[in-house]
Amino acid sequence: MSVLAALDVGLACVVFAVAAWTVFASGAFAATVGYVVYGLLLSLVWIRLFAVDVALTEAAIGSGVTGVLLIGAAARLRGAEATPPEEGPSGSTRLVAACLCVLVAAALAAVVLLLPDQGPTLAPQAMERLPETGLGNPVTAVLIAYRSFDTVLEKVVLVLAVVGVWSLAADRYWGGAPGEARAEPPEPTLAFFAQVLAPVGILVGVHVFWVGADEPGGAFQGGAILAAMWMILMMARLTEAPQSNAIRLRLALVAGPVVFLAAGVAGVAVAGGFFAYPAGFEKPVILFIEAFMVLSIAVTLPMLVAGPPRREPRR
């Protein structure tokens, strides 16, 4: 037990040290790499908190996909690296900011220490109603049944984010594909890697989604893995990024929230209320909705990483 405690303390220190590195490192690129490491370490903390679903999400999205996004941005911003020193705030501003931040952190730490060891919980209620959802994983039940309204709106947020990112395109590129057209040939090593990895990754992604009904995993984590596979295929240029005006792309982007919304409204007719599931058919309906959510996540995340359209549309 004490070994574990020592490991916990060590992990906490390393997490904090790497986080400090991302704030204080001199180069933006180095800081970004530090952030990716930080995200992976953080998923270990989540495992120590017995939140495996969160650990998977943090590793796949918080560290993985976000990492690709930020490293790509850092690489493109390298020209802006040399920020003149006078742009930074003055020493006194830094001091005031530091005091403020220490104050906030201290207040928060005090509250954390004051929280009772056995806190209030909804775990019993969540377990009590778990059988009627037909699911075995209570986290999935919260996401897709008890608090499905949060989840469906969060899917809408993802679609909005795509609209927002695309809105930054130049007018002439609207409808075109994201990413610049590149002339150099694809990297053979990367292409080989993608060819070998993608089938395995797709299998893993579908597996993580499928077991998510009863074990740690689910639509977000599985979808993120599928998204990563698509991103690798695009990076290896085995497949082209789709045009942003392609109806099939848009269909895939909105399928998750639209099917979820439609099922929620259909609940009025078949189950007596918005977002209620018909008795006896809960699990198949939930898996049906989740399948579309996986599709949408798998398409949305790469589109958000790819950025606004940067090529003229082919008509």
Partner: protein, 114 residues
């Protein structure tokens, strides 16, 4: 001190650290990183709340866990939008900063664009 409380203290420290980065660092990309630090600190606070709600045979209250999963996805979407804005700004101006004194007072601005 339990490992949950420890994680909570790390969360508190991360919020402070991230807030410092957000206020002090002039580069938007570094600010985005710092926002993500605050975000993960907030999620860790949810995490200890979940862990302290272990009951009914569960090691951790599933409701805050689900909220964190939702939060991580939203945080990614926010990062994506912020990165896209930063890159577009950099493309157009060759610099990337959101200094408050660079006021938007371009001549002729204000008319609707098409």
């Amino acid at each position: 001190m339990t490992s949950a409380t420890l994680a909570g203290l790390v969360g508190a420290a991360l919020v402070g650290l991230g807030l410092y980065g957000v206020i002090v660092d002039p580069q938007p990309l570094r600010k985005i990183l710092a926002f993500n630090l605050i975000g993960s600190g907030v999620f860790l606070v949810f995490g200890i709340v979940a862990r302290k709600g272990a009951a009914a045979g569960l090691q951790s209250d599933p409701v805050p866990q689900a909220m964190v999963i939702t939060g991580i996805v939203v945080a990614f979407a926010a990062s994506a939008l912020a990165v896209a804005l930063t890159l577009r700004l950099f493309e157009q101006t060759g610099r990337a900063t959101v200094r408050p004194d660079v006021e938007a007072e371009a001549p002729g601005a204000g008319a609707d664009s098409e």
